[in-house]
Symmetry: C2
Subunit: 300 residues, 2 copies
């Protein structure tokens, strides 16, 4: 499988300090990911708080990511509410040396399927960079049907689809991935997200894992990914099951972002209160629960 | 009732042309609203596409609105995904001469109730301007419970709550408004939105109507409002029922925004394709349906 859009793509945080990007902390995260051997780094994903940052901040983050990633390819999130600003982010990602862009159809007013399609068409016409379709209904409130995947995946330039999880049951997960695979071109990879689903998704035929934990904790994510890639499905599942206390925190504390930020803060990788307000981050008792899980699972 | 936050507040479009604010068209809309005698104008509401515009564009729109509104008070929408930018918008609204600000808790990552509360607390501490709480679950995906209304309404500076409609049944609408009224201070007004619900809402005790149609078609909105204010509930309902074909278009075409923009475009008040991409506006056949309703109801 020669595509750039396979294996483990790590989604780093974009740590803030006093409402500005902490460039040193971000550069440190990127260097750690490159050293760990992830297959790619996706800067400015949802975990990287792209939706909260200005075009200038985002251009700076994209440049830093490429500068500090060495030979590891960097993809850059380019989503925005306004179409013209999406193109600005694409231009800035190109100028920074990104190997691809990740596009979530952000919404304020709900968008129709035709409007979502036209957004992807416009971006594919605008850039030579490969585009990852970012299906994240929790944040965009866009529902991608299989039919919409198929329409968008036909566009030249589309390289991968980031799907938001798979069914828990391995056979149903296989059917789900196969149903998407059946309607998209062969060169378009399918990447699972929702870290708790990753082992099942990779075992079910997803070629990539777009991973939140890999952005802060690359080692266990690499263990899962390499096992699944080598056909050692049970080993991938076992490592995912070992991390169950982490998946439980994600579920209990309203998603992965606040938990992974608390982990990075606990490990000293990023400053305290690293998320953009109005997101407050976890409370002190919640942070204690997180620290307990980190220590118990030897994630530090 | 002496509050500024009563009666009819008109929400104008912010028309775009070639991806820039059409200042002449916007000024014309504002002058038309002031001449029609609406009680207030809320610039940069959802209908005014605030979420899609830059801080500079929004500051310019706020200034234009105040300049062209004459003696009519102008409220300005200040919502943003990033907390620090909300405060920038508040500063710009103050500098423009706004009489109040409208704050929707925009989300990308879902916010907790405590985070929403802290956002309103921060804004109320930051400004002397009165604040309208903007509850718009269709666009923000925040669920305001009655308890959250109560917590936020206690903050000094909160002047009004814009609620997203009321039950269709008049008695249940009264109970709904009374339940909110029971937990908020007396000086905080309740304003209905969702234009199809306005007559029922005003008759049920809402002191204000935060109105999409009034931003483009102030006359029928004034007819409903003045009838309800004078206790002529049946007259308010009759005018609302006359407009039923309009409410049906709102329901059928995914909300009010694309329909009201098509109406303003049809009437020549704003340029063609006035909404920010990726929002495409209505299709040609949909626009024909809109034109037919406008003509049939003599809205021109």
């Amino acid at each position: 499988m020669s595509s750039l859009f396979t294996g483990l793509s790590a989604f780093p945080l974009t740590p803030l300090h006093d409402d500005a990007v902490d460039e040193a902390a971000f550069a440190g995260l990127i260097e750690g990911l490159a050293a760990a051997g992830v297959d790619s780094i996706t800067a400015l994903g949802s975990t990287g708080s792209y939706a909260y940052l200005t075009p200038e901040e985002r251009a700076g983050v994209a440049r830093l990511a490429v500068e500090h990633a060495g030979a590891t390819p960097v993809f850059v999130g380019v989503g925005d509410l306004r179409g013209s600003r999406v193109l600005t982010h694409v231009d800035n990602a190109e100028a920074a040396g990104a190997a691809g862009v990740l596009l979530a159809p952000m919404t304020y007013q709900p968008l129709t399927a035709d409007e979502v399609f036209e957004l992807f068409r416009t971006v594919c016409e605008h850039t030579e960079l490969p585009v990852i379709v970012y299906d994240n209904p929790e944040t965009t409130h866009v529902t991608f049907t299989t039919d919409l995947y198929a329409r968008i995946a036909e566009l030249p330039g589309i390289a991968s689809i980031k799907i938001p999880g798979v069914p828990v049951d391995p056979l149903r997960a296989q059917e789900h991935v196969a149903a998407i695979r059946a309607v998209i071109p062969e060169h378009v990879t399918i990447g699972v997200s929702g870290d708790a689903f990753a082992a099942t998704g990779l075992n079910a035929g997803c070629e990539a894992w777009y991973s939140v934990i890999a952005g802060t904790l690359p080692e266990p994510a690499l263990t899962i990914t390499r096992a699944a890639q080598a056909g050692r499905a049970d080993e991938a599942v076992a490592e995912s099951e070992r991390l169950a206390p982490l998946w439980e925190l994600f579920a209990e504390f309203g998603g992965s972002l606040r938990v992974i930020a608390a982990i990075a803060e606990y490990l000293g990788l990023v400053p305290h209160q690293s998320l953009p307000l109005p997101i407050q981050g976890l409370t002190a008792p919640q942070r204690e629960r997180v620290a307990c899980v980190v220590d118990h699972l030897s994630l530090d």
